[in-house]
Amino acid sequence: MFTVAKKEISTYFKSPIAYILIGLFMLMISIMFYTPFSIGSGDFMPVLQNMGFFLIFLVPIMTMRILAEDRKNGTEVLLLTSPTSLTQIILGKFLAMYFVFLVITILSMIYPIINFAYGGVFTVQLVGGYIGFLLLGASFVAIGVFASAVTENQIVAAIISFVTLLIMWMADAFSTQVGGIIGTIMGWISLLSRYDIFTKGILGLPEIAYFILFTGLFIFLTIRVIERRRWIQG
């Protein structure tokens, strides 16, 4: 598991993609951060909420190659015929992606620190918000890894995860508008409404459980998809 994770992490930081993504993300946060900061507002929470939204664009690009590339290059054979089990391989891949996400998260903490330096106040919301952000990231990464397992085309993988994340992001708005069964289902998959709770500084146990289960479900589905494909194709 850690073998695969280590290898993937080193692949990421050897290629330009990690740096481009991190750079872009930091640029977006900077812009979001600067406007309120320049007028003297020390509230970081709106920025944190927007960071969640940026993840919709960031994660698909980050995760698109993680499994699709192995399939395309034939290195999948190496992994699947090694004594390392498929579950360990997928968990390793997920952990690697989550590590890259963690790096981005840690880098983003520069902004609250700047806030403190200029008299910002340390709030419970900030801690809650970051915990929520970490959980949100886990479920996003899991969806991205899943999308990468569905296809051997990286672009297709990126589009699948982007659309999926976007729908889940908007599900909250839909559920109140549509109502009925569809509304209820949309409510179930709404990641945003649950993330919002964290940014209010509330650590809800059901919400924490929701994100963890959500992540676990998509990792499980990823394993199933690969397992199934082995049975039906050559």
Partner: protein, 315 residues
């Protein structure tokens, strides 16, 4: 060591491997021969646990691939048709990753990698990016990868493809050396290769086993009658007449000119009886020098084609 029983693999309606069974004994080196699309790679993919079979069992060292995949995978080193390489890694990084995947203990890794790189001739290239290596060297990295973890069984899918003639000879030597302590299945459509290294040949065509034997017995078994190719100087028609007087000749005919006054002939006997001496003296009597005389042995090529086409006739 490897027991394959009634193995069948279907891709939807297409039957890639149809009910094949064969065993490979410990220490044996078996050649897997067949035209493109015969089911060689599919069979190998199933033995190594990359693909599940539709029906039938594969056992390696007594462990069934379906029920004990980890035990089987531990014992097999696999070089697929396209070497599974990460091009952004150096040779050493890559082999280290494979060592970890195969749970080679940390303290043994360095020594084992050094030995393997020496064996396949990669030592001088160990710090290079795989992306920058030539096809032949990538193939070597693929072979090195299969050897990591010191597996008892090696499955090599066309190991010499894309190599230059010198490298082919070298890789064959390596495989031959490896076969001392290992069980090897090797696929190829290059026939001399199989006859050069393998103790036994399994010919597979359209998903079924068409023939299975040692290369020697396969070449003998096909047609026992003596066959000669000759070059004799002298008048063509008289020579043929003179030779045909000898008992046990089925036919003889000129196959081409071999010089100003000499012709090439092919000759087939009625039985296995060696009539070369008789031919020599018959020619000597008439003063026609025999410039060349050699038995023409059926090559694996001939056998392969006849087995494969026979299969087509049946269908």
């Amino acid at each position: 060591m490897i027991e394959i029983q009634n193995l069948t693999k279907k891709y939807g309606q297409i039957v890639a491997v149809n009910n094949i069974s064969f065993n490979v004994n410990k220490g044996e080196i078996v050649g897997f021969l067949g035209p493109n699309g015969a089911g060689k790679s599919t069979t190998m993919n199933i033995i190594t646990g990359y693909l599940p079979s539709t029906a039938g069992t594969v056992k390696v060292d007594g462990y069934d691939i379906m029920t004990h995949p980890a035990e089987v995978k531990k014992r097999i080193g696999y070089l697929p048709e396209a070497p599974p390489l990460y091009r952004d890694m150096t040779v050493t990084e890559y082999l280290k990753f494979v060592s970890n995947l195969n749970n080679v203990p940390k303290k043994n890794q360095k020594g084992q990698m050094a030995d393997i790189m020496e064996l396949v001739g990669l030592t001088d290239h160990r710090k290079r990016l795989i992306n920058n290596l030539s096809k032949g060297y990538r193939q070597r990295v693929g072979l090195a990868q299969a050897l990591i973890g010191n597996p008892e069984v090696l499955i090599l899918d066309e190991p010499t493809v894309g190599l230059d003639p010198r490298q082919i000879i070298e890789i064959r030597r390596v495989i031959k050396a490896l076969s001392q302590e290992r069980t090897i299945i090797l696929s190829s459509h290059i026939l001399p290769e199989v006859s050069a290294i393998c103790e036994r040949v399994v010919i597979i065509n359209k998903g079924i086993i068409a023939a299975e034997d040692t290369p020697e017995r396969l070449s003998q078994g096909l047609d026992k009658a003596l066959k000669l190719s000759l070059t004799i100087a002298g008048p063509k028609d008289s020579i043929i007449k003179a030779v045909k007087k000898i008992d046990g000749i089925k036919y003889m005919e000129a196959s081409g000119k071999a010089g100003e006054n000499a012709y090439k002939y092919i000759l087939e006997g009625l039985s296995e009886e060696d009539i070369r001496e008789k031919i020599f003296f018959a020619m000597a009597e008439n003063g026609w020098p025999v410039l060349e005389m050699k038995p023409s042995v059926k090559t694996l090529e001939d056998i392969f084609i006849s087995v494969v086409t026979k299969g087509q006739e049946v269908q």
